[in-house]
């Protein structure tokens, strides 16, 4: 029998309520509940988080580094999306 040590899961931790989830690392587990217990034991031994997300690594859709430039290119020539693009009248405040 194949001794593969389970599926690879990616672990995301929310440090406290209201904060975004952040990638912490990965682990091996055979099912969801085992993954959850392993994530608790592996990544939150010192109060690092108040909530966990687990995602199977194979289910993650990721951008490809070799296409990165072309892929993100549409954003590069749109300086008007940034507040610094606009000229404010002399003396204007709180804007």
């Amino acid at each position: 029998m194949e001794d593969n040590q389970g599926t690879l899961w990616e672990v995301f931790i929310q440090p406290k309520a209201g904060r975004p989830y952040k990638h912490a690392g990965s682990l091996h587990a055979y099912d969801k509940s085992m993954a959850m217990e392993a994530a608790r034991d592996l990544y939150t031994r010192r109060g690092e988080g108040s909530a966990l997300w687990l995602v199977k690594a194979e289910d993650i859709v990721a951008s490809q580094p070799e296409d990165m430039e072309a892929f993100f290119d549409p954003a590069n020539d749109k300086a008007y999306r940034h507040p610094t693009f606009y000229t404010m009248p002399e003396g204007s405040k709180h804007i």
Binding site: M1, D3, Q5, G6, L27, Y30, R45, R46
Partner: protein, 319 residues
Amino acid sequence: MAHELENEDPIKLAEFQAKIDAEIKIEPKDWMPEAYRQNLIRQISQHAHSEVIGMQPEGNWVSRAPSLRSKKILMAKIQDEAGHGLYLYCAAETLGVSRDQYIQWLHEGKAKYASVFNYPSPTWADMGAIGWLVDGAAIVNQVSLQRTSYGPYARAMVRICMEESFHQRQGYEIMARLMEGSEAQRKMAQDALDRWWWPSLMMFGPHDSDSAHSSQSMKWKIKRESNDDLRQQFIDKTIPQAELIGLKVPDENAKWNAETNHYETSDIDWDEFWNVIKGNGPCNRHRLAHHIKAHKDGEWVRAAAQAFAMKQNNKLKIA
């Protein structure tokens, strides 16, 4: 080296080096020279194996810890070491080698782990010396590796460093408390320092001039500081800590040099170093045999967990 740089595309190689020079981290899907990948596979897996094998000398004392407090602390520390091993295996797996393969290489003797764990831990003071000196040396190395060029390795190091300083402090506390104790306890502490001092200094590896992988590793910023520089940092920190609690490092030539602002020490017994690396240390065979046995004993657990997961999946499909 098996993977010659001459075989790489020179343009890609130059772009790669430019990224490294600009302190841009390399991520798993980025192009990298095969020799860089192989170098990381070797180093990260060796690091992971060291964390896991490092549980053995400490596991030796769980059932005999002198108090409930020290037993709880020791178990927490061993659990951390297991965790550090797992962070590092995950980082190593991003290089395209499976966990199984890494463990197989360890069992076949193709992958190494830190030689320091091939020394025995016969007394409770060894728990002090391991935490204070072995973890202390590891921290010096790992703090430096937080800036390593490979992203997953650097991130694992940041997490490990946050957890590791408790290890060193608990070890130093054990030593300090023994030094406040009876004559026999003070002797036990000194004896542990005598046995662990040199193996700890050896943890930083050969002199820079004799280190097979050092110069390319520095150029690629896999390593950020040289073996000798890191060793000196450790010596400079540790000798005053020993003196503070009345311990003496086992080196007649150890003395402060006010001009260089560093301690001077004797040279390491490199014959012993190479001998232990070659597998002839006091516990090499025992450590590996124990790991192989534990892995085999766990086979049915993995098989059962996998069978259960498949059963749950099938249930979902039928429903």
